[in-house]
């Protein structure tokens, strides 16, 4: 299932491809006839599309992303939420499912609580969130792990292969926020810690190919050691 793609480390300004045959993808730009990397990361080429996968950097919010944030403040119209990006986000009252008592905002989300939300819109004034969808809302129990947001695609894997492997291996519910916060909820603390270990393993090894196989091995080893 794993596609063999050649990945090389590139630095900003490096020429990735020349001529009209190639298309510039994410993290690249066409200057004249050359496609150059504008970010430090791994270059990848598929179907004549050249792109650079960044390895570091602050989370860039995008419309439609599922994120995990922390309630920072309560106003008359909703909640200010810290989503670990350059800009703070806002969850307005209208974006809560069901009826909301204007005096009871604190009962829905209190300051310091964690929330799973979806980015409704990113505009010049700020970021708007919503919780009007299945699987969104307050986090009551479980564990939250923070990783760099550029590692999120590796944790999810191709078509969710890696994330389902973690879920199966640890028996936990895992929700990955695009901003790099991951919510793990299991029946036992041991299970949650196992899932956390797997995530840390992936972030450390995120540059090697064939990682799904390695993670499977890792789970076997960890479980064998415990019993």
């Amino acid at each position: 299932m794993e596609e063999k793609t050649k990945r090389t480390v590139v630095i900003p300004g490096e020429v990735l491809a020349k001529g009209e045959d190639y298309l510039p993808g994410e993290g690249t730009e066409k200057i004249g006839k050359e496609i150059i990397a504008i970010k430090y990361g791994l270059s990848e080429e598929a179907n004549k599309l050249v792109k650079v996968i960044p390895l570091s950097g602050v989370y860039q919010p995008r419309k439609g992303n599922i994120i995990i944030g922390k309630v920072e403040n309560i106003t008359f119209y909703g909640w200010a939420i810290d989503i670990d990006s350059a800009e703070g986000a806002f969850l307005p009252l209208q974006e809560i499912p069901g009826y909301v008592d204007k005096d009871g905002l604190r009962e829905i989300f209190d300051i310091g609580e964690m929330v799973v939300a979806k980015i409704l819109d990113v505009n010049g004034r700020g970021i708007d969130l919503t919780t009007k969808s299945r699987g969104l809302g307050r986090i009551d129990e479980g564990l939250i792990v923070k990783v760099n947001s550029s590692k999120v695609p590796r944790i999810i894997g191709k078509e969710g292969s890696m994330i389902s492997l973690i879920k199966e291996g640890s028996g936990c519910e895992v929700t990955v926020g695009q901003n790099g916060l991951i919510w793990i909820k299991g029946d036992k603390v041991e299970d949650e810690l196992l899932a956390k270990g797997a995530i840390n393993f992936i972030t450390e090894k995120s540059f090697s190919s064939g990682l799904t196989g390695e993670v499977e091995e890792w789970f076997k080893k960890e479980k064998g050691g415990n019993k």
């Binding site: 630095i11 900003p12 970010k39 390895l55 950097g57 602050v58 540059f207």
Partner: protein
Amino acid sequence: MAKDFKRPDGRGVEDIRPMKAEVGVVPNADGSAMFSFGNTIAIAAVYGPKKMHPQHQQDPKKGTLRCNYNMISFSVTDRIRPGPSRRSTEISKITEWALEPVLMIKNYQNMVIDVHINIIQADASTRCAGINAAALALAHAGIPMRDIVSSVSIGKLDKQLVVDVDKDEEDWEEGEGATDIPITMTSSERLTHIQLDGKISNDELKQVLELAKKATKKVYEVQKKALKESLEVKE
């Protein structure tokens, strides 16, 4: 050019002091790097992009680069008074101007990228080492950039042009004395910064630029190696 010219430390006229570069030296920063020319060592740390504070400095049209150059009090033989000075404020601004042309931060409206450059050991050419470290740290922080800049200082000792000035050469007093010309270039030989402290003729300045082109290439190779190797280790 006189081949028998003797530099105080025995280097050839076009030799740069041994260079070292490393990225990821400050774990808490979003990106960081160390760069050294012999005994001159600079550490740069990048924080952001983050919301600009104070708010009145926010630019709704584009992102802002904010550099802070600082010489640590023990970096020179006589202790220097810590804190901002006229000199460090000027060099901070110069560093911003040297780096800005390669950054692509138009989409980071109302945001700022903070670059903190600390000189932990000084032996002349500190601003060049600072710019080199800052360029590496910005790349390491995942900031979009058109190119990487490399900086080197060209000196004129009496009538002789030399590459990468050190402290003994900066204090040259024979003949016409010392002239220091820090130059920053991109890898495609485009100039982003040039300063001149002293007197120089037109022809000599042309030679200086040729020397700088060659020298910044060498610096660029060291920077490139540092960025590429920091990943190989992890694999």
